[in-house]
């Protein structure tokens, strides 16, 4: 092909996309800054739900030390991690996913697609839900508190396992979001795309061991609920294996590649807001 200039080396490209991220997100923050009250009320609401949910599961432990092998503090670690992942979903994924059908209907996607930037990056990171940015911090806070209550040391290896499996979890959630977002290119008017992802993520509120038989198999193998919440937390509690870490890393990589393929395939079927 004529005139193709060499593409940027990896490091420069990463820096360019980080700069773009800063620009997109600072624009969102500026636009939302007028509504400071929203931020405060949202923070209070998040805190309320977190406390409510944490106390709520305490009911299960009135008749025993553990439920399906999980103690109360351990379950709280899961809840904290779930809250953090869900908060990230709401802050980073939901504002973009929620706008996808609007992009298609209003033709804004045409602008996205004619920009010399990776289109998947543009549709998935252009907006940021700043009101939910506190949720990941609250979630991590609950995890730390629960780990201290549990009273066992977390080794460096456990921590590394959690970081790797946690990154895998977030990658899988992101890949799912991109795949769902691609649906909007096939069917204009699917207003409930975000509900789909929320449904999947919500199931991760509890460790998969809490579910039985068919549902547990479904959540482990078909839907990535175990990958999203149970596995990273198990690592933190010193219950993971190297094999699992390797498998999850491969699964996450495959999910990212697959999502990108689905996105590109779907773009071929994109037909615009009007012919």
């Amino acid at each position: 092909m004529a005139g193709r200039s060499p593409s940027l080396p990896g490091g420069q490209r990463l820096r360019r996309y980080l700069r773009l991220l800063r620009i997109f997100w600072s624009a969102t923050v500026q636009a939302e800054l007028e509504y400071r009250l929203n931020f405060l009320s949202n923070a209070l609401l998040s805190l309320f739900w977190l406390v409510w949910a944490a106390l709520g599961v305490g009911v299960y432990f009135r008749f025993g030390e553990t439920v399906n092998g999980w103690s109360y503090p351990e379950l709280l670690v899961v809840m904290g991690w779930f809250f953090a992942v869900n908060g990230l979903r709401q802050a980073v994924i939901q504002p973009n996913l929620g706008r996808m059908t609007e992009y298609v209907r209003m033709g804004t996607l045409d602008f996205v697609l004619t920009k010399p930037v990776n289109s998947q990056f543009m549709v998935s990171f252009r907006h940021l839900g700043i009101y939910n940015l506190l949720d990941p911090l609250l979630g991590i806070g609950l995890m730390v508190a629960a780990l201290i209550w549990r009273g066992e040391m977390v080794s460096v290896i456990d921590l590394v396992g959690w970081v790797v499996l946690g990154a895998g979890a977030l990658s899988v959630v992101y890949a799912l979001a991109v795949a769902i977002q691609s649906l909007a290119l096939w069917a204009i008017g699917g207003e409930a795309l975000d509900d789909l992802l929320q449904g999947v993520v919500e199931a991760g509120r509890f460790p998969v061991q809490m579910y039985r038989g068919f549902v547990r198999a479904l959540l482990t193998f078909a839907l990535p609920v175990a990958v999203m919440t149970t596995f990273p937390v198990e690592a933190l509690l010193g219950r993971t294996t190297l094999k699992l870490v390797v498998v999850v890393t491969l699964v996450a990589a495959a999910a990212l590649v697959g999502a990108s393929l689905v996105w590109r395939l779907s773009l071929r079927h994109y037909r615009g807001a009007s012919a």
Binding site: Q30, A31, T108, S274
Partner: protein, 362 residues
Amino acid sequence: MSFLGRSLAGQFVTRMDVALEARYSSAEGDRGCQDLHPVITVDGLVKHFRVHRREAGMRAGLRGLVHREYALVRAVDGISFRVAAGEVVGFLGPNGAGKTTTLKCLAGLLYPDAGALDVAGFRPFERDQDFLGTITFVMGQRNQLYWDLPAMETFHANREIYRIPRSDFEATLDVVVNLLEIGPYLDRPVRNLSLGERMRCELAAGLLHRPRVLFLDEPTLGLDVTAQAAVRRFISHYSHDYSATVLLTSHYMADITALAQRVLVIDHGVLRHDGDLAALVAQRAPIRQITVTLTGDVDDRALARFGNVVNRSKLSAVIEVPRDSISAVASQMLTALPVSDVSIADPPIEEVIDRLFTERDG
């Protein structure tokens, strides 16, 4: 345009030419090809859409859930043309003729069903980042600006997106802001701008990276006369100063007559005319109009001898006359009638186009 703006524009053109030259000489190995090489080549472009056909009403809606009927819409049905560097080409055609679909295929938004496309040496649908940096796609009444922020924020975002060096960015911004006269609007949230003000900012946002190929889809849609004129003036300046290639659709004939040296008439996905406007008129309107101003009263029948009277008042008349016999008829009128003034003109372009499309339906 201010003197400063003009001199800056001059500098850009030089810089851009150097870049272009480098690009074409590496691609073609021969500078001589640069002028001959078309910037846009379309060969047998086909784009069909399958649309869900549905009658009105609840029952039909429910039936549609179970058994869907589809109709095939041949939006673009095998059109071919070439556009040379620096040409400004107008697309004419009724709604649904396939104009926008063609533009979208050329901008890499739609995947063509058949045919070969080449824009500035790229295959559009591959959406190579260098290709996207070469083109712009501006759509009237669609919004790419950050709605709640001043337009300047979008400009800065585009600077990063298009990797425009800061000095180039500031220089281009200066020219664009001057030409479009948008200086006063840059620091107001976009939502508080009028449609005309916003559209001019949209145009600016789409041109800061100094694209060589412009796809403009109804850029003046819904604008008042002043804003239309400003947009037109700007496009004309830009295409001239940067030797940019422009493909333009518009419902306002004034846009086409003011900007395009050449028109493509497209209807039902098929190209019906490709050439300059004058040729279109000559070919499609085999008549011209003679307007006579009379010094005394003249009988209708006396006028009808000369041709088809389309407009008549007491002391003037407009008569349609076959193009070939126009001068003979005009001189006959001068001797036979009490005439104080005669003017000969083509029928309005709108009428010619309208006739072109109604002929097909009739």
